[in-house]
């Protein structure tokens, strides 16, 4: 397996195993300790902070599942990107929005950087928070769009 193939597999494991199964042992193997996890609304500094987020989100979103299609990961030697789908049931308060007990699903894209050892040291997430907030009743649309 060359470096690009390995990065592709690492991205798939990050989404489908770390997030979907909460496998923190694997997270320690594929994520660098100084991981930067950057969302539109938050910036987590360090692998430990990220793993706390995984644990927290998996209690808020029941059956949290990330899926990525075979052709939806693009990889180079030091960076990669993936287009993914998340599904879950919203059973706890998230960003002050109380549990809605709704089944939710959104798409998103993530950008990954790797260090020399092949571990992920930066993840930037671009996801459809608007849709998620709409599904769980966190926003009100002021116009018909």
């Amino acid at each position: 397996m060359n470096r690009i193939e390995k990065n592709t597999e690492t991205v798939r494991q990050f989404l489908e195993v770390v997030w979907s199964s909460g496998d923190l042992k694997l997270a320690e193997e594929i994520l660098a300790p100084d991981l930067q996890f950057i969302l539109a609304f938050a910036h987590l500094d360090g692998r430990d902070a990220f793993m706390e987020l995984v644990v927290k989100n998996r209690t808020i979103f029941e059956n949290l599942t990330y899926a990525v299609a075979a052709g939806d990961i693009v990889a180079e030697e030091m960076k990669a990107a993936a287009f993914w789908q998340m599904s879950a049931k919203h059973i706890g308060t998230w960003r002050n929005v109380p549990a809605s007990d709704k089944n939710v699903g959104i798409f998103g894209m993530s950008f990954f950087r790797f260090n020399e050892e092949g571990k992920i040291n930066e993840i930037r997430v671009q996801n459809d928070v608007m849709s998620l907030m709409n599904q769980i009743g966190g926003i009100k649309k002021l116009y018909d769009f």
Binding site: G71, V74, A81, F107, F111, Q126, V129, S131, G138, I139
Partner: protein, 145 residues
């Protein structure tokens, strides 16, 4: 120019089409006539409709510009990903939301698929719609997030 360099050039060229002064008469030698342009809130089918969408966006957002973030391009032979910032001024009604004349600044990402001839055949887009809608007063947040 190898295939990766050509894909990079094609992606950059595509984003340049959104600038007000860009020529929109792009030829079918780098974008497939049946291109699919897929947003979370719209699915645009074919080159003519994509051209119409770009023209509409350019009229809605004055000085519209897409800037690919630093090293935010990831390339393979048949796919590519770009992470970008969109800036402009909303001067016309958009999705039912009246013109605000607000300057907007929104992040997003796109996944490109290329055919065997190197033409773009599909573009999937993730844009921070929550941020955009907040900036042009299209939504109300029902909770403090």
């Amino acid at each position: 120019m190898n295939q990766l360099q050509q894909n990079k050039s094609t992606i950059i060229r595509f984003f340049e089409c959104f600038s007000n002064d860009a020529n929109l008469e792009f030829e079918e030698n780098w974008i497939h006539k049946d291109v699919q342009f897929i947003l979370s809130f719209a699915h645009v089918d074919g080159l003519t409709q994509v051209r119409n969408l770009i023209q509409k966006e350019r009229s809605v957002f004055e000085n519209l510009k897409y800037t690919i973030i630093d090293s935010g391009l990831v390339l393979e032979e048949f796919s590519g990903a770009a992470f970008w910032l969109m800036t402009g001024k909303q001067v016309v009604s958009w999705n039912g939301i009246p013109a605000t004349c607000n300057e907007i600044n929104v992040s997003g990402a796109s996944l490109f698929s290329f055919d065997v001839d190197g033409k773009i055949k599909e573009i999937r887009i993730q844009i921070d719609l929550l941020s955009l809608m907040s900036q042009i007063n299209g939504i109300t947040k029902l909770y403090n997030f």
